[in-house]
Symmetry: C2
């Protein structure tokens, strides 16, 4: 049996992508073999090479697809517009970041942990996309800081710190945990704004420029 009736190449490739993403997230790129990915895909190891030139290309493709989807999805949000009031924009960004990442935990995990597994050209390609995401947030913070709404003397540092905080949720959040995702989301949005001295709850009168 060399080719199953009704099977399509694109479907196999997609199954392989899903299998690889799950396995890479659980065990790490280097610890997963093409044979394991193939088995999870329901195919022989050699068949993978009809869809991906190398294991490295497969990893790169997963990361690039994820980051491009992230950027495109945010840019389509109404709050991504440059005219949005900084507090509202930052809150929306934090909420979007948390939701998007919660829905794709494997992809986030792989995209942040396996950067070191990329060879140089692929690394630069992925790094450019990651940087683009950080720049989206930095632009909001910079806008708010210049308007005196955020206390952020170094917008770049604040960006990295807050992205670290938001992305870190993926490392410990479990859907079966004590609190629902919505509560964790609300708490983090609150902390994000608070960290820049622009809390929207509690003593609101205390923001630098009320």
């Amino acid at each position: 049996m060399a080719r199953q009736a009704g099977s399509q190449g694109a479907e196999t490739a997609e199954r392989a992508r899903r299998a690889a993403l799950s396995l890479f997230a659980r065990h790490g790129y280097a610890a997963v073999s093409m044979r394991e990915i193939a088995a999870e895909t329901g195919v022989g190891a050699a068949a993978l090479y009809n869809h991906f030139a190398t294991k490295q290309d497969l990893l790169t493709e997963l990361m690039v697809k994820h980051l491009e989807a992230l950027l495109a999805a945010w840019d389509a949000e109404p709050e991504a517009a440059a005219e949005t009031e900084p507090r509202a924009a930052l809150a929306a960004f934090a909420r979007f970041h948390l939701r998007f990442h919660a829905a794709r935990r494997d992809a986030v995990f792989v995209s942040t942990m396996e950067l070191r597994s990329l060879d140089q050209p692929n690394f630069h390609r992925v790094e450019r996309l990651r940087r683009a995401w950080e720049d989206r947030m930095e632009a909001i913070i910079r806008r708010g800081a210049e308007a005196g709404i955020f206390r952020a003397p170094e917008p770049r540092i604040a960006t990295m710190a807050l992205i670290g905080m938001l992305t870190g949720v993926t490392n410990w959040y479990r859907p079966a945990g004590r609190l629902p995702a919505s509560a964790i989301e609300a708490l983090h949005v609150e902390m994000t704004l608070s960290a820049l001295g622009a809390a929207m709850t509690g003593d609101d009168a205390c923001s630098p420029h009320p």
Copy 2:
């Protein structure tokens, strides 16, 4: 030449630990071979087994040693006392966390990224230590929240968020960067307190209980 004059076993073991830490941090546990570690140590691969039973044991030892040193060092700090005023305690904790981690970037990287490479018994051992560190911070936040000094309705969530923010610095901080470590440290201590509505700079009169 089977044994070099003047070479001592303990020194070789320590060189091997350093080599392994550096290689694991750069390429990941699974991607590094015992032969590479041995070469960096200046020894044959077989010699490593005079000091470590398995590769897995070597990784575990690195993590346990790091986390135990972290806990012991913090517990020796004066601000770790339960009587310390919460704002001062949290500021000291954040500063300590940043400094300790900045000085041991490889160990931090390995200890947080390679948890998945541990088999179950080793994982639990390391996880208990990691949890102990989180509990140190949570105790401070809980104390401050109960005293009305921190705005933290869920101390556990705040702990995880802030530890994520502080630990994340290791991922992007470079000593040759634009800002000195002291500036990054100050900004993060400030954001840590701010996130809980207890900033010590700027509009200090705004903290819930002045």
